[in-house]
């Protein structure tokens, strides 16, 4: 056998390896186009009784922010809520809520029942601001550094392992 006979085998093996790795990727997770960009301009009213609302400038006032896009009608939001409550205890970060296409009364009931981790909440009734953020489903969680730049995005509910495995290290890195 000459070495040349192995070329097709090598090419096919390489292709198989690449495709096999590709099978493991989750096609539902779309990489964000906004990483390393400043947060988009927006101005949102609050949930009733939780004044003031939320404007983009709030996120560039210094300090790291976690922006969580959520809705009371979203099942996975309920699942991740305990981890948001946990994140709210981390010193030096501000928890911000973006309430997506929700009924304010139901949103308030959700927070009354499960706890309110948020310092401020913007109510995005039409989903228009979420579009500016490139949101395509709830929940999504963004990490904003002190200058108001988006440094990370997590799509889908936060799981127990995402805090030590993903968010906390990213928060530490953003502090630098």
């Amino acid at each position: 056998m000459r070495w040349r006979n192995f070329i097709p085998l090598a090419v096919v093996s390489l292709l198989a390896a690449v495709l096999f790795v590709g099978l493991g990727l989750d096609p539902k997770i779309v990489p964000s186009a906004l990483i390393d960009k400043p947060v988009p301009q927006f101005d949102l009213p609050p949930l009733p009784g939780k004044e003031p609302g939320l404007i983009a400038a709030d996120l560039a006032k210094g300090g790291i922010s976690v922006v969580n896009v959520w809705a009371s009608w979203c099942g996975p939001c309920r699942l991740e809520h305990p981890y948001l409550m946990e994140l709210a205890k981390v010193p030096g970060i501000r928890m911000i809520g973006l309430n997506y296409k929700d009924d304010p009364a139901k949103a308030q009931a959700f927070l009354d029942q499960l706890g309110d981790p948020f310092l401020a909440i913007g109510a995005d009734r039409t989903g228009r601001v979420a579009f500016e953020w490139g949101v395509y489903g709830v929940p999504e969680t963004f990490l904003i550094d002190a200058t108001g730049r988006i440094v990370m995005k997590h799509v889908g509910p936060l799981r127990a392992e995402d805090l030590p495995g993903k968010l906390l290290p990213a928060i530490e890195a953003a502090r630098q």
Partner: protein, 154 residues
Amino acid sequence: MKLKLLRLVMVMTLFGITPVFAIAVDAVTLKDPVLETRARSIMQGLRCLVCQNQSIEISDAELAGDLRRIVRERVAAGDSDDQVRAHLVARYGDWVLMRPPLKLSTLVLWGGPPLLLIMGGIFLWVGQRRKAPEVIPPLSQAEAAHLAKLTRTD
């Protein structure tokens, strides 16, 4: 005039070209049919992010409806097709395009299949050439006589 149009539609249907008058049902469409047609052709090239292999034109997902509204808004505001697409790409990345653009990060995607085809072609060609049958010289007189002796049946 009306009959002519009907005839045209019938002939098109015969050839499997169904004229599509409406796909996704939207309450609000653009009044100007030229703009609406343009908006729809842009929608065809935009991927619905929650149903991924459908364009937003045919998807009934809520997000697709929101994106259709935004496309119509931009078209009505006088954006060119490319500007509308750029507006969405800025927020959702190249993923939102049904047809990924050719750039450094998509080089393997676009270049891979032709490259594999060329490599396969070269391999076949080289293999074929090496195996090409040699020209067999005719039997010499002695060989022919020998063969005749071996195959004689008496």
